[in-house]
């Protein structure tokens, strides 16, 4: 009986080590809100460009989203520690953000953002790459599923009609930005609730 209790205490110690080390990974899930913000950004830009036919729709919406993301991220990450993993994932998304701003700002301002199929294919491929790289680093199947959805949208949009392309893009945004982002936020919230105090 005493042996069993001692074994259980030692196993508790092992579990504690594993759960604390996993905290580094859990920090990633506090970025769920950015997926939702960017999903809404895409919807606003699509709506604006469809209704207003403005070349400024994408560049302006993306610039506002970048500012919102940077400001909120700075406020949220006030006392978060730096991890190699966090820096790796952050670098992927930062490089993606810069690429999108540079590419779509230039295309928008030059008036060459005219081929809807090419636009959706490029944006989907870039998002598939970023989600795929992040998922492979984190070994996160749910995020890899998002990458697959983006890659499927890349292929699909090359062969689809205008209407089908729009629907595919809207569905991919909904699944990979809105649903995935909310899932990330719920997962983070659940972990906060489960975590009790650790005594000496």
């Amino acid at each position: 009986m005493q042996d069993h209790t001692a074994d259980q205490e030692l196993k508790d110690r092992l579990d504690l080590i594993e759960s604390m080390i996993a905290e580094g990974r859990r920090n990633i899930e506090s970025w769920g809100w950015t997926f939702v913000v960017w999903g809404l950004t895409y919807y606003i830009a699509i709506g604006w460009s469809a209704l207003g036919h403005s070349a400024w729709a994408w560049p302006v919406t993306i610039m506002i989203a970048v500012i919102v993301t940077v400001v909120v991220a700075t406020l949220k990450s006030d006392n978060h520690p730096v991890t190699t993993l966090g820096r790796a994932i952050g670098s992927i998304w930062m490089a993606l953000g810069i690429s999108m701003v540079v590419l779509f700002l230039s295309l928008g301002l030059s008036g060459r953002l005219t081929d809807q199929h090419l636009f959706v294919a490029v944006i989907s491929a870039i998002l598939g790459m970023a989600n795929g790289a992040s998922a492979l680093i984190l070994r996160w199947k749910v995020q890899f599923a998002c990458a697959v959805v983006w890659w499927a949208a890349t292929v699909g949009t090359c062969f689809a009609t205008d209407a089908q392309t729009t629907i595919m893009f809207l569905v991919a945004i909904f699944l990979c930005q809105i649903v995935f982002g909310i899932y990330g936020m719920i997962a983070e919230s659940n972990q906060r609730k489960r975590r009790g105090p650790i005594h000496a």
């Binding site: 110690r13 080590i17 730096v82 190699t84 105090p197």
Partner: protein, 100 residues
């Protein structure tokens, strides 16, 4: 029969073990972050971090950021080694019971 390994008493304390494990996964961490992750009280957390510091397992850096004091903790090589040895000793003690 081989001798049972001793568990390092400094590492074995629940909160100290949690702190070393947390610090092993990050480059450095603020006191407030460690407090949020462990949900420990300021007094208890400070006391356990001091024990780890005295054992040479963590290094402390105090600085001011935007005029606010900031205390940063970083696991030392000795601390990382102590944690690794502790895990090995735990696994050795548990033996086959580890999978049950």
């Amino acid at each position: 029969m081989p001798d049972s390994p001793e568990l390092n008493p400094v590492v074995h304390g629940r909160l100290r073990l949690a702190l070393l494990s947390l610090l092993s996964g990050v480059e450095e961490a603020e006191f407030t972050w460690l407090r949020a992750k462990t949900a420990a009280t300021d007094g208890n957390l400070g006391a356990q971090l001091l024990k780890l510091e005295e054992a040479g397992y963590v290094a402390v850096e105090k600085k001011f950021v935007s005029r606010k004091p900031q205390t940063l903790y970083r696991i030392s090589e000795t601390g990382r080694q102590a944690l690794t040895e502790y895990v090995q000793a735990l696994k050795q003690l548990l033996g086959p019971a580890i999978d049950t």
